[in-house]
């Protein structure tokens, strides 16, 4: 009796607090694409997005003026029908398509773009990516609070379907930038009426290939095909009727769900495959597995101010003593390519690996450089620190590099690791570790996003604490130039200084995304810039 009383009490307690979980929406599995995402999708507001999972969904909901060709990464029209630049390349005019509508039926116009940029640059909006708008006249001053003159801002709706941008300097890469989420049109009426809640399914207005049907934050997000959408290339709506994103924090759970037919894709943008499982899945699912090139580079940053890595000879010796081929074949094992330069090919301004720029594996030369630096055979070389953010994969790479440096140069390195946010702090301090790992991925496909925005001595974070005036001039000149051939040459020279003559960083490899894709998904491809072009994919049959 007592037993039942206890149970009754607990049940009652539980029952009182118990609320029902959301009802399951019946789904037709043959028409629904099921994708995992590792963490809650932070925002669907294109003006506030800065992470890959938000951008992934925003890509399906909002069109940009331009988009990228998935194979060549060349800029192609999306919301814009065409564009032109003034003779001095400081004014860009985009003519927009007239057949694109918001989900309430109102046409998408140049005024929506003008509004979006004014809103995103406003300091009160506190947009984290507002700085990509700084290339527009007057933008930086407004965002810094130095000016309130929004009429001075370099964006203007010339008429309903023509938008004009005035730039602070010539920028050949501007059309690539104009496709970024911070530049996408926004629905003023919805934002002004609902404030931060405008992205809720009941308020949101979108114009992309899909519409938001359900958003249970941190659990799932459901998109339904936009029947009114006409693709700029195919003139058709999206092929797949419904896309479900599930939040699955554990990659091994995601893999089990894929194996059980509960997910259509796992890997890459959609929850990585656990590294320990790569060998097995490659063997067991050879028809479903693939490694796709990613526009990211894994590199070791070097503290260029600290002894002994402030000596270029030491840095060159370290770089030449690392066998990148072995590293990708034995440690990372995902089809990555060894890297000796920073900008990931085939991005505009990158150097073809066949050209041999940068420092390759050459232990003999490495020992000579170290001896020239005053440490013959590693004698007298102090123990230096190699730090990585806490992760099993980074630890394995660090251990491999440690072993290579010990074997080839006779020197010792101490490996340390820190939690991500602490790590970000540590690597910006003057006493930052001698070596530290980072991975850089393209925001837009131009070397400016790499060489200028990551290592410029004053206009970037410059974690490597490196000063080189020639490099600074080269990247600045390349940014302003509109001559493609000249830009390519300038970036080539910059890569040479960064990776070869100065060895200010040590590139290790170019990333790949490892995918398992259910064979019922047809026409699938990986969009390395993020924001998958789901509108072109098709589903055939059951999983």
């Amino acid at each position: 009796m007592l037993l039942t009383a206890v149970h009754r009490t607990i049940c009652l307690l539980g029952g009182l607090l118990l609320l029902s979980t959301p009802a399951i929406i019946a789904q037709d599995i043959t028409k629904t694409l099921r994708l995992p995402q590792m963490s809650a999708i932070p925002t669907l507001d294109p003006g506030l997005a800065q992470d890959s999972s938000s951008i992934e969904v925003i890509e399906q909901l909002f069109l940009g003026l331009t988009d990228y060709d998935p194979k060549t990464y060349e800029v192609i029209p999306e919301l814009a029908a065409k564009w032109s630049a003034s003779a001095d390349s400081r004014t860009y005019t985009f003519e927009m398509r007239k057949d694109v509508f918001w989900s309430d039926g109102v046409p998408v116009t140049a005024h929506d773009i003008e509004y979006a940029i004014r809103r995103n640059i406003n300091p009160e909006t506190a947009s984290p990516y507002a700085y990509v708008l700084y290339i527009l006249e007057g933008a930086e001053a407004i965002n810094k609070g130095e000016s309130k003159d929004f009429n001075s801002l370099g964006v203007r709706a010339v008429d309903d379907y023509t938008v004009e941008f005035r730039l602070t300097q010539p920028a050949g890469f501007f059309p690539a930038m104009a496709g970024l989420w911070t530049y996408r049109p926004l629905p003023r009426r919805s934002i002004e009426a609902f404030g931060t809640a405008w992205t809720e399914p009941e308020h949101i207005l979108t114009n992309g290939s899909y519409r938001l049907a359900t958003w249970e934050k941190g659990n799932q997000l459901i998109l339904k095909r936009n029947p009114d959408y006409k693709d700029s290339v195919t003139q058709q709506p999206a092929q797949i009727e419904e896309v479900n994103y599930y939040i699955i924090p554990e990659s091994s759970t995601g893999l089990a769900m894929f194996e059980n037919g509960e997910l259509d894709i796992v890997g890459g943008t959609f929850l990585s495959i656990p590294v320990a499982e790569i060998d097995r899945v490659r063997r067991e699912y050879s028809d479903r597995y693939s490694a796709q090139p990613d526009l990211c580079t894994y590199y070791l940053g070097v503290n260029n101010e600290r002894e002994p890595t402030n000596n270029p000879l030491v840095r060159k010796a370290l770089s030449a003593a690392i066998d990148r081929k072995t590293l990708v074949e034995r440690i990372t094992k995902g089809g990555e390519e060894p890297a000796t330069t920073f900008t990931r090919p085939p991005i505009f301004g990158s150097v073809d690996p066949k050209e041999g720029v940068g420092i390759g594996y050459d232990p003999e030369q490495a020992r000579r450089w170290l001896a020239e630096a005053g440490y013959p055979g590693g004698e007298g070389f102090p123990t230096i620190t190699y730090m990585h953010n806490t992760s099993e994969n980074h630890a394995k790479i660090a251990q491999a590099v440690q072993a290579m440096l010990r074997r080839n140069l006779g020197i010792n390195i101490r490996i340390e690791n820190q939690e991500w946010k602490v790590y970000l702090k540590s690597t910006t301090q003057p006493d930052a570790p001698h070596l530290f790992r980072f991975g850089w991925c393209a925001d837009y496909p131009d070397a400016n996003n790499w060489l200028m925005e990551v290592f410029h001595p004053t206009k970037s974070t410059n974690r490597i604490r490196w000063q080189n005036s020639e490099y600074a001039q080269l990247t600045e000149k390349a940014m302003g130039s509109t001559d493609s051939d000249e830009r390519i040459q300038l970036y080539r020279r910059a890569e040479q200084i960064l990776n070869e003559e100065e060895a200010a960083i040590i590139p290790l490899y170019f990333y790949t995304s490892k995918y398992l894709v259910n064979p019922r998904l047809k026409d699938w491809y990986h969009m390395a810039l993020g924001g998958q072009q789901i509108r072109y994919w098709r589903l055939a049959g059951r999983p």
Binding site: V6, A40, Q50, P123, E124, Y246, I247, N260, K421, L424
Partner: protein
């Protein structure tokens, strides 16, 4: 009783304030901020964001504002999901953690109590050995190992149950087992040992001497007394389960509070961390008070004063 409740309420409120102040200070002392990214944001953009969230004000003012707002039921908005108030976040996620926690506790009690009584009744005989073996297994296999084993066996191998997510009833079975088995083990061990102790007492001998049946002796007289230690641990277990269990929620992709808690610490999402800490503190205080009341009910010798 009323006196007791009022005193508990007072000390509880004070505890919560201390928790809030400590967590607030510790969070601010953590290296790395909520808006740090690999590509450092330009200082003016950082300033705009900090101004948006009121982080540009002095620490004491931030804390006073926080407490003031919290008293009015406003725990701020998440830094990583700007349109998501912490109160909404808790309201969405707590019920899911509660549901899972209740299932696990129920399962633990339904399995653990009878197993413990059985083991005590058949002390040093086969049922006792079997129960002990099960309990040792249950306590020594951590969730972290048990959950993937359950997924492998029932999900991938037998294909009886879905691998993960919190949707239909069948998706709730594996997480309940993963969480409940350990609890059942603890409850059965405690019940067994305290039953064994009680059985030696004089009043049990008296009950037997009166000619009561063994079921009645064990169920009515022994178990009620043996429940005290079990009740003691139920408070903290309940509070911990109700606020979500990180490992099980993570592995089964359950959108409860536990899985979000750890993410919010690594994101330095201060308002979310503060909110969950306060909730956790509140629940611990609530559960301990409830357990004290249940004590008095289970053992009339205990008086609440």
């Amino acid at each position: 009783m009323l006196n007791f409740l009022v005193r508990r309420l007072g000390s509880g409120a004070l505890s919560l304030l201390v928790i809030a102040a400590l967590v607030f200070l510790l969070l601010k002392a953590l290296p790395g901020g909520p808006f740090d990214t690999e590509k450092s944001l330009p200082p003016e953009i950082m300033r705009n964001i900090e101004a948006y969230y009121g982080l540009d004000r002095p620490l004491w003012e931030q804390f006073v504002r926080y407490v003031g707002n919290a008293l009015q039921g406003d725990l701020g908005v998440s830094y990583s999901q700007r349109d998501l108030p912490v109160v909404d976040l808790i309201a969405q996620r707590l019920p899911i953690s509660l549901e899972l926690g209740c299932y696990a506790i129920l399962f633990g009690l339904l399995l653990g109590l009878p197993l413990g009584v059985l083991a005590a009744a058949y002390h040093n005989r086969l049922p006792d050995y079997i129960a002990t073996l099960l309990a040792v297994l249950g306590t020594s296999i951590p969730n972290l190992a048990l959950a993937p084993m359950l997924i492998l066996f029932f999900g991938l191998f037998l294909k009886w149950l879905p691998i993960a997510r919190w949707t239909t009833w069948d998706s709730k079975v594996l997480p309940t087992l993963a969480l409940g088995l350990g609890i059942a083990a603890v409850i059965s061990r405690l019940t067994r040992s305290s039953m064994l102790q009680i059985i030696q007492e004089d009043f049990i001998r008296t009950a037997r001497a009166k000619g009561l049946s063994e079921v009645s002796v064990l169920g009515q007289h022994a178990l009620r007394n043996a429940l005290l230690p079990v009740l003691t641990i139920m408070g903290p277990i309940l509070a911990a389960l109700l606020t979500g269990t990180l490992v099980v929620e993570e592995i089964f992709a359950i959108p409860g509070l536990g899985s979000y808690f750890v993410t919010s610490i690594s994101n330095r999402d201060y308002p979310v961390v503060m909110g969950i800490y306060l909730l956790y503190g509140f629940l611990i205080i609530l559960m301990n008070t409830l357990v004290d009341i249940l004590y008095a009910w289970a053992d009339p010798r205990i008086r609440l004063e």
